[in-house]
């Protein structure tokens, strides 16, 4: 059962998603957090990465394709990596520009963050963005993240030196936003 929302579904990556993933990497506005990648990623490269992913009961990352529920169209990617079990994790997101402004990314983020706190039991979720991406900062704030750190002149993109912006959300903040949920784990040190 994929992770279902109202507007979007998060499902596993499939072979046919290579076109979407290559397109997201080849768009300078969606491709990466801080480093401009050459927009020359090919479908075979993405397919190869998909094919070499091995079965694992204990993965430290999760990769999801975001589908628009009304049409079943794949519109973006969302995932987590660097999981320290029951402790911390970072998330990342890429959405096709034609799917921006419809609330899809916000719901996808909320679904993933919920999965991380409620199913994986982490204490903190982190994300890294930059001062040249106010949309990403605003979106993250909508789903409960706060700016934790700002490193000046740390990122160079589109001809400009930008600040690296680290955002985080701790477990108590997530549950305070979700009074309908009960935290069965809490902070083990308190």
């Amino acid at each position: 059962m994929p992770i279902e929302g109202t507007l979007v579904t998060l499902r596993e990556e499939r072979e046919g998603d290579a076109e979407l993933l290559a397109a997201l990497r080849n768009d300078l506005d969606t491709q990466a957090w801080s480093k401009t990648l050459p927009p020359d990623y090919t479908v075979p490269m993405l397919r190869k990465r998909y094919e070499t992913r091995e079965f694992n009961y204990d993965p430290l990352e999760g990769r999801f394709i975001v589908e628009e529920r009304s049409t079943g169209t794949a519109i973006g990617y969302i995932g987590y990596n660097g999981l320290q079990r029951r402790h911390s994790v970072g998330i990342g997101v890429m959405f096709s520009k034609n799917a921006w402004g419809k609330g899809y990314a916000e719901e996808a983020n909320e679904l993933l963050v919920t999965f991380l706190f409620v199913e994986l039991g982490v204490q903190v979720v982190q994300l890294w963005t930059h001062s040249g991406n106010p949309r990403a900062i605003g979106l993250a704030e909508k789903v409960g993240f706060k700016i934790a750190a700002r490193m000046h002149n740390a990122i160079y993109k589109n001809g400009t030196l930008l600040d690296n912006v680290v955002m985080d959300q701790i477990r108590e903040e997530f549950y305070a936003r979700h009074p309908e949920l009960t935290d069965g784990l809490g902070n083990p040190f308190e």
Binding site: S88, V124, R150, A154, L161, N187
Partner: protein
């Protein structure tokens, strides 16, 4: 590396505060030998090693990390401060660096004081970054911009 006072501030990859085996330490040494885009150096005083110091710029020379670890018996002798200054000068002189960063746990007050005396400024507080002494600890990234470094060397 297993000195209790160094737990949580050994600046190794994937450093949890667990005791390291000889094999763990050898693995780190091997990794440092092969490391690209970084300097892994031993801090030496009168031909005796007293600690280690690294500059790591990964894929981006804009923002290297500088970390210095001095053996507890040799701390408070100015070695950490001098080693850090040497690496900071090296990075700003040899790399097109805009800012140097380091991450310091919130409980590590000597390191926070040292970073301030070196000219670093706190850039925020990232919550629950590690576990130390029965609690989640925050991590404080500190930064030194090239302009700060230049100004400090202007006189």
């Amino acid at each position: 590396m297993n000195h209790p006072e160094l737990r949580g501030r050994r600046y190794l990859d994937d450093d949890e505060e667990r005791p390291l085996s000889t094999a763990d330490v050898e693995r780190h040494l091997e990794k440092s030998k092969e490391a690209k885009n970084s300097l892994y150096l031993t801090v030496v005083v009168d031909e005796h090693p007293v600690g280690y110091a690294t500059v790591d710029y990964g894929w981006d020379t804009l923002t290297p990390f500088v970390d210095v670890v001095i053996a507890p018996d040799h701390q408070r002798s100015g070695y950490g401060s001098e080693a850090a200054n040497l690496l900071i000068d090296w990075a700003f002189t040899h790399l097109p660096t805009t800012a140097i960063h380091s991450w310091i746990a919130d409980w590590n007050e000597p390191a926070l004081r040292l970073s301030e005396s070196l000219g670093f400024t706190p850039a925020g507080r990232v919550r629950r970054a590690s576990i130390h002494d029965g609690r989640f600890a925050d991590s404080i990234p500190v930064e030194m911009l090239r302009g700060d470094w230049k100004a400090a060397h202007a006189h």
